[in-house]
């Protein structure tokens, strides 16, 4: 745009200059040259006139005189001839003679330079010829008349204009002639100059003007051979060059323009980018500021959280440690001991509860809380809640009621654990904050919203309006004095609300201070079959529910391998397992677990995943790789979903979270271990041989060979061939159990160990024992087996 404007401006300026040229006529060379020539011609014409008319008077007088002489002579001659031969009338005759003499040139008197008339005077008589008037000059000649007495004398007088007048007339004529000739010549000259000079010049000027107006395609005529021809040629050449340069210039200009356009575009883009960048930077800065503020706020919240948590954790720890130490020091009677133990258990459970809540909170905040979506029997779930809540309410002397408003779906889709957690939290809260009166759970199905509405109401202390808002924030019971009075982390309601959100609902709250509180929980029920709506509490089908009391009485049979490095937990687990009647082998790391699991047949392996020497994962992998198919249940505090998936992938069959929940433990045990008295399932793995006919003969063969082994071992020991004895013991160790005689294996192993120890004296006793056992076994079993 800018380039085009400047281009046209230059062109306009040129045109202005050209216009000045054409308007100024003085600048026309042709006119100037013509004028100069005309001046020269006029001057030379003037000079010529002057030159020619300089002696004109004298010349005219001489000519007139000469003419008069000629006329006088001719008149004399004519009169002379007349005189000798006289005519009829002498007077008339003379006139005729004279007329003839003066008008030889065509009968006119005129023809003589400047002479206008003649007068012939004879004897007083005069004859006039031509036009005689006054003011004329005259000259006279004497003529001799023949025939007369004494010859008569006559006069011939010529009249003419005075010489000056005549010269003036001649001069005028000459000037007119010269002027006319000059004018003609001037015109011719002008035309010639026009042709020779002005025209090509004009053409050239027009061309230049045109060129200056921008028409470079124009070319001048070069047919002329003169300077104009050359000039035109040069001009054309120049024009070509200019044109080439102009084209180059135009091209360069165009390139420049396009480059400028590109640059401008780039610049524009750059500016746009810069703007965007600035905006982005601003945004980022703002975001960062927000994030920083959030982080700071979060950090402050977390600091407060950590402070609160450590306080909450220390609180129950104090009585736990204190009472445990008191018991250790002794001096308490049985009742006091029981009291101390109960305090320890209660505080331990509270601690566990706090830690669970904190874990839940951290999972919720990290968005990593897994929510199941499975079929749930709402009646069974509420019945569970009721059974616990009723006990708690009874303890405080409160009434408890579970009220259904039918119809209620028999099956809903939800997460039973989390739903129960919400309800338990609300119900225990209600009981906690209620001194007298009752706690009620009302159940209602909202078919339109596809939600189950569970209302937990109490007749407790209530919550003031201004504190309701803070209630669902983490760590904010109505105030800290409440925390001190009633205990708890202040996390429960926050977690419950978030859980309700995750279950497709929410929790709302109405409260009147001093009168009571009503929490309403809504959870999504998923797809509900309308035909499956119950109008009354269905007959309880409790087989699938875990009954703690029943579980405690569970009687199981079978063997469990427990791999657990913590002696305390090992002891606890051993106690819990043995209480069911199960046989327990406990090992302290993965290596021992692998060895034991390969050596013995267990119904179940309980494997702690974090152990020294060899961890649970490696042990499970080794066991599965070596062909062991004993069920393995992982014991771990890593309760994350991905951990469970990993354990499953390496070959674990189940998963028990730590701290171990008794109910769950017994459920798992019931799943893998046979019940006592259930003979078909409880067959000792080693006893299978009796059902297998194919092996009987081999066993008999083994038994028949036992006394041979006894002899060889005895001999080797006595002859101090300890290496042989060790080899024999090793073989027996391998065979005994396999043939159904673990006693032989144990005894042989004892001998092998003793011999390996390098002190033969120590081998004496086990050697004797083994020989005795072999002999007795051979005697006792050989006969009936072979029979």
């Amino acid at each position: 745009m800018t380039g085009n404007q400047s281009d046209s401006a230059v062109r306009n300026e040129k045109i202005v200059v050209t216009d000045d040229w054409t308007r100024n006529w003085q600048a026309r060379i042709a006119i100037k040259i013509t004028a100069i020539f005309l001046w020269v011609i006029i001057l030379s014409g003037f000079a010529t006139v002057v030159f020619f008319t300089k002696d004109l008077d004298v010349h005219i007088e001489q000519e007139i005189s000469h003419d008069l002489d000629g006329v006088a002579h001719r008149v004399q001659s004519a009169l002379s001839r007349q005189g000798s031969e006289p005519g009829p009338d002498s007077g008339d005759g003379v006139r005729l003679l004279i007329e003839e003499a003066i008008s030889r040139n065509g009968g006119e008197i005129m023809g003589h330079a400047g002479i206008v008339g003649f007068r012939f005077t004879v004897a007083g008589q005069s004859l006039d010829f031509g036009t005689l008037r006054t003011g004329l000059a005259s000259a006279k000649r004497r003529i001799v008349m023949p025939g007369g007495v004494g010859d008569q004398t006559a006069e011939l007088e010529a009249f003419f204009l005075p010489a000056a007048d005549s010269a003036k007339q001649t001069r005028q004529e000459l000037i007119i002639t010269v002027v006319v000739v000059l004018l003609l010549f001037g015109m011719l000259l002008s035309l010639t100059i026009q042709n020779v000079l002005a025209k090509p010049l004009q053409a050239m000027m027009d061309a230049i003007q045109q060129v200056s107006n921008g028409d470079l395609n124009l070319r001048l005529d070069v047919s002329r051979k003169d300077e104009f021809g050359h000039l035109s040629r040069f001009f054309n050449q120049m024009l070509s060059r200019v044109q080439t340069q102009q084209e180059a210039l135009t091209e360069a200009n165009r390139e420049l323009m396009s480059e400028i356009a590109v640059r401008e575009q780039a610049e524009q883009k750059l500016r746009a980018h810069q703007d965007t960048l600035e905006k982005v930077i601003e945004e980022r800065t703002r975001d960062l500021e927000v994030a920083r503020d959030q982080a700071l706020a979060a950090s402050q919240t977390k600091s407060a959280f950590v402070a609160n948590v450590s306080h909450e954790i220390r609180t129950p720890l104090t009585p736990i440690i204190g009472f445990a130490e008191a018991m250790l020091h002794g001096g308490q009677d049985r009742q006091e001991q029981e009291q101390s133990l109960r305090t320890i258990i209660r505080n331990g459970r509270h601690l566990s509860h706090i830690i669970n809540e904190i874990l839940d909170l951290s999972k919720i905040e990290a968005n990593s809380l897994d929510i199941e979506s499975i079929a749930v029997d709402p009646f069974a779930l509420l019945s569970d809640v009721e059974s616990i809540a009723r006990v708690l309410a009874d303890e405080k002397g409160l009434g408890f009621q579970l009220a259904y408003q039918f119809p209620i779906p028999r099956r809903i889709t939800s997460d039973p654990t989390r739903l129960k957690q919400i309800l338990m939290n609300l119900v225990t809260n209600a009981i906690k904050f209620t001194a007298k009166g009752q706690v009620e759970i009302a159940v209602q199905y909202d078919a339109a919203a596809r939600q189950l509405k569970l209302t937990v109401s109490d007749t407790g202390i209530g919550i003031s309006r201004d504190k309701i808002e803070r209630l669902f924030q983490p760590f904010s019971q109505a105030d800290y004095s409440t925390t001190r009075q009633y205990g708890g982390t202040g996390l429960g309601l926050y977690i419950s609300k978030r859980l309700a959100n995750l279950l497709g609902g929410d929790i709302s709250l109405e409260s009147v201070e001093g009168l009571g509180t009503r929490f309403a929980v809504r959870v999504s029920v998923g797809e509900v079959d309308e035909l499956q709506l119950a109008d009354a509490v269905p007959a309880a089908d409790r087989d699938d529910l875990v009954d703690l009391r029943r579980l405690a009485d569970i009687q199981l049979d079978g063997s469990v391998l427990l791999a657990e490095d913590s002696p305390d937990i090992q002891r606890l687990m051993r106690y819990l397992l043995q209480r069911t009647g199960a046989r327990v082998t406990a090992v302290e790391n993965g290596e021992r677990a692998v060895e034991a699991a390969l050596r013995e047949d267990y119904h179940l392996i309980l494997m702690d995943m974090q152990m020294p020497v060899m961890g649970g994962c490696e042990a499970v992998e080794l066991l599965r790789a070596s062909g062991c198919c004993t069920p393995i249940v992982a014991l771990t505090a890593n309760a994350m979903k991905e951990d469970r998936e990993r354990y499953q992938a390496i070959g674990c069959d189940g998963f028990l979270p730590k701290p171990v929940d008794q109910a769950k433990l017994y459920q798992v045990l019931g799943q893998y271990l046979p019940c006592r008295g259930d003979q078909a399932a409880a067959v000792d793995p080693a006893g299978e041989r009796r059902e297998d006919t194919g092996v009987g003969e081999i066993v008999a063969q083994f038994l028949r060979g036992l006394d041979d082994y006894a002899r060889r071992i005895d001999a080797a020991l006595r002859e101090r061939r300890y290496a042989d004895a060790q080899e024999l013991a090793h073989q027996l160790k391998g065979m005994g159990g396999a043939f159904g005689y673990p006693g032989i294996t144990a005894c042989a192993a004892e001998l092998e160990v003793a011999l390996k120890g390098g002190d033969p004296r120590l081998a004496a006793a086990p050697g004797e024992a083994l020989v005795a056992l072999l002999n007795s076994t051979a005697l006792a079993d050989a006969v009936p087996e072979t029979a």
Binding site: M614, L622, G705, F739
Partner: protein, 130 residues
């Protein structure tokens, strides 16, 4: 149920070989050969092909572990079970690193042998499908 799979038992104690033979027969595997040492086992392996090798570790001559290594060089596919009283986790680990498919600790129960055979059949059937 009778299976045609060829099994090779490698053990230096004749009684152990016979016992295992009996157990295998009980599970329907009658096509069983035996060798008393690693060298013999490898010679047999070069001559015949086997589906399963039951290998003791503690043997005179080359050990079971060494035999396993050489055997794997010959045959990558054969199902090898270590049968040994040396049940230390270190041994198990080494055997697995050398490419064993199962580990039976002496004294074994028939159940263990049965489980191992089942594992073998599962692998074969998976292999057939694949």
């Amino acid at each position: 149920m009778a299976y045609k799979d060829r099994i090779l038992i490698v053990d230096d104690v004749a009684l152990m070989r016979d016992l295992l033979k009996g157990v295998l027969r009980g599970f329907g595997y009658a096509n069983v050969q035996d060798a008393c040492c690693g060298e013999d086992a490898l010679k047999l392996m070069q001559r015949d092909s086997f589906s399963i090798v039951m290998l003791d570790i503690n043997m005179p001559g080359i050990s079971g572990m060494k035999t396993l290594q050489k055997l794997r060089e010959l045959d990558d596919d054969v199902f090898v079970v270590m049968v040994s009283a040396h049940s230390s986790a270190e041994n198990v680990k080494q055997a697995i690193e050398n490419g064993v498919d199962g580990f039976i600790v002496k004294p074994y129960t028939q159940k263990k042998v049965g489980e191992m055979l089942e594992k073998y059949r599962r692998r074969v059937s998976v292999g057939d499908v694949g």
